[in-house]
């Protein structure tokens, strides 16, 4: 095994060992958030890297979180069953929205607008059904006493850290799996020229639908995980347009075309949000969104490959020279 091949395993081992050595609760909390959001951003980038820019992922995340919590509170369904149901629900929602788009060749800006509407609709539904979901005040899954595997509720941060780490690693593995598949060639081709891809024998609608469903399933899992960890969800934190925009921002800043790009994006966005919260307190509510917006424009113009993508490019050219 070369040094390059063993690096991910060493890094992985270090990340697993970390909470047994260092257990400052606030820092672990930030790390858990970073891991969960990294997974959500990775899910978004599965589509985004092929030019399928979705602003509907807030919707999938909301479905993941709310369906899991509602099934638990109202029907007593364990999250172990509720989460798969929520993921399937998000996948079905994704198919309902995406299939007509792909079938009738709604691409580019028009696709973005359709998905934007999806985010808005999910947010409205959560707010409108306030008798069940608590509306804009938010929603809390019923607590069990202490840590319960069945309820997927744990008091200690170490367990949550390990769960989030595992899911994040699975997300990266899925990213790599797609990256190595022939479907990646097909999707790259589709993103350039749909007719030419079809002339090469690619079933364009099916390929796009596949990656969309994978992405929606993963995003819903991220939402459910966030809900189980925070034990509080509100339409603003797990659904809606601002969450969708935050995903786009983080991925573009981190790097859209590299596996760890979304993770770098999560580190930056969460540290930025926490920094503003600690530095300015309630005076800075909403500032992070403002900063995101400005930075997004700056990045798209000056650093379209994102921070990690650009660094890796530099390293590659430096090695060649």
């Amino acid at each position: 095994m070369t040094a390059k091949q063993s690096l991910p395993w060493i890094a992985g081992a270090a990340l697993i060992a970390l909470p047994f050595v260092y257990r400052e609760p606030y820092h672990l909390h930030i790390l858990i958030l970073i891991l969960i959001w990294s997974f959500a951003y990775t899910s978004w980038s599965m589509m985004g890297r092929f030019g399928l820019v979705s602003l509907g992922h807030g919707g999938f995340m909301g479905v993941g979180a709310y369906v899991t919590a509602l099934l638990w509170n109202h029907l007593g369904v364990s999250p172990w069953i509720g989460i798969p149901i929520a993921m399937v629900a998000a996948a079905i929602l994704a198919m309902i929205v995406a299939y007509p788009c792909f079938r009738f060749r709604i691409t580019g800006h028009y696709f973005v607008l359709v998905t934007l509407a999806l985010s808005g609709i999910v947010l409205q539904v959560i707010t409108a059904t306030r008798d069940y979901t608590g509306g804009s005040l938010g929603y809390t899954p019923d607590r069990t006493k202490g840590s319960q595997l069945w309820a997927l509720q744990f008091d200690d941060k170490v367990t949550w850290y390990l769960i989030a780490l595992g899911v994040w690693a699975v997300g990266l593995a899925i990213w790599k799996w797609v990256d190595r598949s022939m479907d990646r060639y097909a999707l790259e081709a589709i993103s350039e020229d749909e007719d030419a891809a079809a002339a090469a024998g690619v079933n364009v609608t099916w390929e796009k639908l596949k990656i969309t469903v994978i992405s929606a399933l993963m995003t819903a899992l991220a939402g459910a995980l966030y809900c189980q960890y925070q034990m509080f969800i509100s339409p603003d934190t797990v659904s809606g347009i601002s969450v969708s925009l935050q995903m786009v921002f983080a991925v573009i800043v981190g790097g859209l075309y590299v596996s760890l790009g979304p993770t770098v994006g999560a580190v930056i966005t969460i540290l930025l949000a926490e920094g503003l919260r600690i530095g300015f307190g309630t005076k800075a509510v909403g500032w992070d969104n403002l900063v995101y917006g400005v930075l997004l424009v700056v990045f798209i113009i000056f650093l379209p490959k994102g921070i990690l993508g650009s660094i890796l490019d530099r390293l590659k050219t430096a090695r060649k020279a």
Partner: protein, 251 residues
């Protein structure tokens, strides 16, 4: 092998292809010529599934293919090239062709796809650097790559939209010889679309001429090139008169 009957394509009130019928026999090269806008590419787009015909039937190996999605038609064995090459810039040359081999053959086997890509690149003579990007290729190279992509899909019938514009005389001859080699060595039946008659006439077995969406002539190259209707379309009525006068003078 291919039987087309009463093919019609309308775009709104405009009829791009009007009641065109023709047959293609196994192993032949059929030339399809006509001026710009005569409906050649529209016929190709219907045969390859990009457009559904407004009316008429297209039977390939005895089964109806009109209205099938492009990838299904390709999987049945009809490959195509585009008039202006449409390579994928984000993939390497080899990946471009391997993609067509993987999805076009309908077998979804990576090994078979790479073998097909290797063969197709060898056939068209693009064996340089398989990891090279598409951007380094010139006009002739891009046409070769386009052809390799179509060949990698394992076609029984190749729709070659080989407009030779942009190539010099030498390259035109090479392109024509390439199509003949594909037919002779791989046994692939070919329909070759072109709007100038020159090189095409030397290679094809039969020619069909279109004008304003209608078939105006069909037959051996020698017959077609002396057909007054074809001469009129290509050279104008004056030319017909001049030709007649020249014949008169020779007598």
């Amino acid at each position: 092998m291919l039987v087309v009957e009463g093919l019609v394509k309308r775009f709104g009130g405009f009829t791009a292809v009007n009641q065109v019928s023709f047959r293609v026999e196994q192993g032949e090269i059929l030339g399809l010529i006509g001026p710009n806008g005569s409906g050649k590419s529209t016929i190709f787009n219907m045969l390859s599934g990009t457009f559904a015909p407004s009316a008429g039937s297209m039977q390939f190996d005895g089964t109806e293919i009109s209205g099938l999605a492009p990838h299904r038609i390709i999987n049945r064995g009809i490959g195509r090239t585009f008039q202006i090459p449409r390579p994928f810039h984000r993939l390497t040359m080899f990946e471009n062709v391997a993609l067509a081999g993987y999805f076009g053959q309908g077998k979804h086997s990576r090994i078979k796809a790479e073998e097909a890509a290797e063969r197709a690149l060898g056939m068209v003579g693009l064996t340089t650097d398989r990891h090279a990007l598409v951007d380094g290729l010139g006009a002739a190279g891009l046409k070769k790559l386009e052809l390799a992509k179509a060949l990698a899909t394992g076609p029984k019938l190749l729709l070659a939209d080989e407009s030779l514009g942009g190539l010099d005389e030498n390259e035109m001859d090479q392109a024509a010889d390439m199509l003949r080699k594909i037919r002779d060595e791989l046994g692939i039946t070919i329909i070759w679309v072109e709007h100038i008659m020159g090189v095409l006439m030397r290679v094809v077995d039969r020619v069909m001429v279109l004008d304003h969406g209608e078939k105006i002539s069909e037959g051996l190259p020698s017959q077609v090139s002396s057909d007054p209707r074809v001469v009129e379309v290509y050279l104008g009525t004056d030319a017909v008169a001049t030709q007649a006068a020249a014949a008169e003078a020779r007598r």
